[in-house]
Symmetry: C2
Subunit: 523 residues, 2 copies
C-alpha cells in the first residue's frame, strides 16, 4: 500500500524520507493498513517557508475571505461527516454515536462557524481608540502557528480542525498542523476538506498544511524556527515541557494544555442530601470516553464516615457494572497501569479495578482507588499525579484542616468542583474552601462535574501551571481563544486613511465593538 | 555610616549578610556616602513568605481599599516630591526640571491615580457573562509579583512606584521590588512613601516590599520560587534572557522589556518638504535623557543623495553644539564606547562623536554613525544592535528594495516610525513599506518620533521578541498593563450569592463595563 501524502503549500505531496508508521484500531488491537510518513526536517522547512509567505498574504486579506474559508470548511466537514466519523471511530475507538457524529463533529463545525462570525464582526481585535491623542490599537496576526493536536479529541481539538486551529486562522495566521500519530487517517480526511476550502475560497496555498509525525528533535527545531509566530500544544506534560523549553528559548509564545487532575470536593451536606445522584454523576464524568478527557476528575474528596463508605461502595458497583471502553493505544493502557501501580506504591488502596481487561483491543478495568488525607499528605507529589484513563481516587478527610493543607499543596489545574448542600448547611465550609481552590484552577464549578467544556465566551479552558503555560489565556471560547495568536498593534499619529478599517473614525463594519475614549461602542 | 535598611513585611529591617554597595553621582563621578545592602537569599525568602500571606489577604479585599492605597501613595509622592527628585537627580544626573519634577514625578503620580480609578471601576477585570449557560469569568490576581526596575526611569518605571508596580497592585497582587542599584536612595525614599500608604490604608503588611541588590544566582532563584505569581523586568537583553530562562522553566509568566533600536524611516518626499524640522526632531529624540530611553531611535533610514548628506551634516552640527548630558554610570559609558566601536568594526563610519568626554562625571560625545544599505546587509546582526545612549546610526539606501530586505531581517522592536510627505508623493512607498515594518514593531508611528510613551488605554509599549517576551501585552497604558498580572477565572454553575460581585446578575458598581451575552454594557 502506498504511503500517505502530506499536505504542503496546498498540495498533497510525498514526504521526504522513507520512515513510516501505522495507526491501529484500539477496539480490536489490529494494525491499520495505510502507512503514514514520519517527516524529516525538509518537510517542516517547506511548510515553514510556505506558511511565512501565506502569513504575508493573509495580513492583506479582508476579514470576509478568512470567514468564508472557515464557513466553507465547516460545510465541507458536514458533507463528509460520515466518512470522517467512521475513520475516527476506527482509529480511536470512540463511539460513532453519540460521541463522534452527534457531539464532536457538530462541535467542530460550530467552532468553525463561531470563529467565522467573530472574524466578520471583528470585535476580537479589541479596537481601542484614544481620539484626543490619536493613538489607536488593535490585535493583529502573530505569524504562522504550529498546532500539535492531542490524542483524545480527533476532531474538535485536532491540529487541522480543532479549537487551536480555528483560533489561529481567525486571528489571520496560517497553520502548520502536526497530526496526532494515533489518528492519522482521520487527520488526512479533515485536511482534505480544509485543502478544498482553501482552494474554494482562494486563500493563500500555505494557509493550512499538515504533517503526520516527526522526531522529537525536529519537533524542537520546528517550534523554535524564526518563521514561527506561536505554538499551541495539547498533550502530555513531558512532551509539552520539552516543546516549551525550545519555544521559550527562541522567544516564541507557546500555549500548552498539559495535565490536570480536576479535584472534586463533596461537602458533607451535599452527600447527605443527594448521595445517589452525586455517585452517578461522578461515575458518568469519570468514565466518559474511558476517562481520557483533560477535565476528567482524577481526584475527589469525601469527609470520612458512613456516607463516604457508602458512596465508594456504590461507585465501585457502577464501575464494575459498566463495560470498559477502549483506550486509545496500547501505550496508553501501559501508562494507565503504571500510573495506578504508582498510586498504590504511594499508599493508595484499590477499591475496584486496577488491571487490564482481556479481550479485543486496549481496555482497562474501571478503577477506583482511595487514600486517607493523612496518607495523601505523606506523599503529596506521588499521589497528586494525572492518571490518564478510567481511574479515579478518593481522598477521605479526617477533618477540614487536612483538606485546606492539601489544597495549599495542590498544583495548578484546569478545573475544581465543589458540591454543596441545597439546604445551606455547607455554606460556611464553602466560604472557607473556595478561595483556596479558586486560585489553583481556571474554572471553578459548583454542584457540577468538570467534563464537558462549553464553547462560551465566558469559558476558561486553561489554568495555572502546570495545567497550562499561562493562566491568563483560554483554549476554548470565542473570542478569548483567538487573542492567543495575536500581537497588539498600536498606531501612533498615523493618518486616518492609513489605519486599518477598524481603527478609523468612521467604522464601516456596523457590528464591531470598539473601546472609544474608554467607552464600549458598537458600530 | 550605617547601612540602609530593606523593606520587608511592612518594616524597615537590617538585611542579612554584610556585603554592601554604593551609588554614585553620574554628573560628578563621586561615590555617594550611604552603604546599601546586597541581600542574601534569606531576605528574598522572608519577602516571599510575607508576599504569599499578603496575596491571600488581598484576594479578600474590596477594590476600594486597594484604590485608596494607590491614591494615598500618589498623594504621599506629591508631598515628598522635593526630596525625591533631589535624590533622583543626584543618583541619575537627570535634570530636576523639567525632567524629574515636571515630567517623571507627575507621570508616576498619574499612573497611580489612573490605576486607582480603574480598580474602582473594575472594568479591567473584563467580566464576561454567559447568562444562558450560567458560565461567567473575569480576571483575578495572579499572585506575588517581582518587579525589576530599570536604570533609566528612577520614578515612573521604578520597581517600587512605576508602571509595572502599579499594574501588579491594581490586579490585586503584592509586589516585591528589586530596586535598581544605580538609584537605591531614590528607591528607598519612594518605598518609604509606599510603606506609609500601606499603613495609612491598612493594607496587608506584605503588600509592598523592597530589596536593593542580590546576586545573579539569587535573582534566578527568586523568579522561579513557587510563591511567585509573575515577574516584570525592564533592562538589558542579557539580564532579561537569564531571568526568562529561570522563570520559564518554573512555569512563571515573565514580562520582559529588553532591547529595541526603534527604526525611523524618512521617505524621500518628507525629507524634501521638511528637512530642517525632521533633523531637529531627530536630534531631540536621540538626545533626550542622553539617549538612555527604551524608545530612543538608534537607527534611521535615508535614501542616498544630497538631501541625506545635508541632513547628516546638520544633524552632526546640532549634536556638536549641544552639551553631552551625564550617562547613568561609568559602566554605561564603557558599554556605549564598546557598542560604537563594534559598529565601526562592522563597517560603520563615524560622522561625529565616538569618544568619551573629559570632565566631571560620565559623559560621551553625541555620536552619529553611518553605513550604506549594502554594508548593513553584509553584517546585519552586528549592525542591528542596541547602543544604549546618545548615539544613532544612519543607513543610506541605494534603493527601496534594500530597505525591504533590511526590514525583513529586522528583529522585533518596540517602535518603528515612517515620515512621509504631506503632498502625497510618498504614499505608494508608504503602502509598500508599512506592512513589513508593522509586524516587526509594537507601535507604528507616522510623522512622529518614538520617544515619549503616552499613558493611554490605546498604547502598546511592547512588541515582538526580543523587544519583549510576548507581543500581546503592553507595559504602559491602563487597563491593558494590568491584565499581565491576572489569571482568567471562570465560574461554571456557581450560585449567584457565591460569585464575585462583578459577575452577579445585578451589579452594584454602576461604572463597570461587562460583556453580557456578547454585548458590552455599563453598570
Amino acid at each position: 500500500m502506498e504511503t500517505a501524502l502530506i499536505l504542503i503549500d496546498g498540495k498533497w505531496q510525498k514526504a521526504s524520507g522513507e520512515a513510516t508508521f501505522h495507526a491501529s484500531n484500539p477496539a480490536t488491537g489490529e494494525t491499520l493498513p495505510t502507512p503514514f510518513p514520519i517527516s524529516e526536517w525538509r518537510d517542516c522547512d517547506l511548510a515553514l517557508s510556505a506558511a511565512a509567505l501565506a502569513a504575508d498574504e493573509m495580513r492583506r486579506l479582508e476579514p470576509e475571505q478568512i470567514a468564508a474559508f472557515l464557513d466553507t470548511y465547516a460545510s465541507n466537514l458536514e458533507a463528509a461527516s460520515q466518512v470522517i466519523v467512521t475513520a475516527a471511530n476506527e482509529e480511536t475507538g470512540l463511539a460513532v454515536s453519540p460521541r463522534l457524529k452527534d457531539n464532536e463533529l457538530p462541535r467542530t463545525v460550530l467552532q468553525l462557524r463561531l470563529a467565522a462570525s467573530e472574524v466578520r464582526e471583528e470585535s476580537w481585535k479589541r479596537p481601542t481608540l484614544d481620539l484626543e491623542r490619536n493613538i489607536r490599537s488593535c490585535f493583529g496576526p502573530i505569524g504562522p502557528v504550529v498546532v500539535f493536536g492531542p490524542n483524545n479529541f480527533p476532531l474538535a481539538f485536532n491540529g487541522i480542525s480543532g479549537g487551536d486551529f480555528v483560533s489561529a486562522i481567525a486571528a489571520g495566521n496560517p497553520v502548520i498542523a502536526k497530526a496526532h500519530p494515533l489518528h492519522p487517517n482521520t487527520s488526512r480526511l479533515l485536511a482534505e476538506e480544509a485543502r478544498k476550502a482553501v482552494a474554494e475560497t482562494r486563500m493563500p496555498s500555505g494557509t493550512v498544511q499538515m504533517i503526520y509525525h516527526i522526531s522529537n528533535e525536529n519537533g524542537l527545531r520546528l517550534v523554535s524556527d524564526p518563521r514561527v509566530g506561536a505554538i499551541a500544544f495539547t498533550g502530555s506534560r513531558a512532551a509539552g515541557l520539552n516543546l516549551k523549553r525550545a519555544a521559550d528559548s527562541a522567544g516564541k509564545p507557546i500555549y500548552l494544555e498539559m495535565s490536570s487532575i480536576n479535584p472534586v470536593i463533596f461537602l458533607p451536606g451535599a452527600l447527605a442530601e443527594e448521595e445517589d445522584r452525586l455517585t452517578r454523576d461522578l461515575a458518568d464524568s469519570c468514565l466518559a470516553a474511558a476517562g481520557q478527557q483533560c477535565t476528567s476528575p482524577n481526584l475527589f474528596f469525601l469527609w470520612q464516615g458512613p456516607k463516604a463508605e457508602s458512596l465508594l461502595t456504590n461507585l465501585a458497583n457502577i464501575f464494575d457494572q459498566r463495560n470498559p471502553q477502549p483506550l486509545f493505544s496500547l501505550a496508553g493502557q501501559h501508562h494507565l497501569q503504571s500510573g495506578v501501580t504508582s498510586l498504590i506504591d504511594a499508599g493508595a488502596q484499590l477499591v475496584t479495578g486496577g488491571h487490564p481487561v482481556e479481550g479485543p483491543g486496549y481496555r482497562y478495568a474501571h478503577t477506583v482507588l482511595r487514600v486517607t488525607s493523612r496518607q495523601f499528605l505523606n506523599k503529596p507529589d506521588e499521589l497528586e499525579r494525572e492518571v490518564f484513563g478510567n481511574a479515579t481516587m478518593a481522598v477521605t478527610l479526617d477533618d477540614t484542616e487536612e483538606l485546606i493543607t492539601i489544597l495549599e499543596l495542590l498544583e495548578g489545574n484546569l478545573t475544581g468542583s465543589i458540591y454543596s448542600a441545597k439546604s445551606g448547611v455547607d455554606d460556611d465550609l464553602y466560604k472557607r474552601i473556595e478561595p483556596l481552590l479558586r486560585h489553583k484552577v481556571g474554572r471553578l464549578l459548583n454542584d457540577k462535574m468538570p467534563t464537558g467544556v462549553a464553547v462560551s465566551p465566558a469559558m476558561q479552558h486553561g489554568g495555572p501551571f502546570p495545567a497550562t503555560s499561562h493562566p491568563g489565556f483560554t483554549a476554548v471560547g470565542i473570542p478569548g481563544s483567538i487573542t492567543r495568536f495575536a500581537m497588539l498593534q498600536c498606531y501612533d499619529g498615523v493618518r486616518e486613511d492609513r489605519l486599518p478599517s477598524v481603527l478609523r473614525n468612521t467604522l464601516q463594519n456596523p457590528n464591531t465593538w470598539r473601546s472609544i475614549n474608554g467607552a464600549w461602542i458598537r458600530g
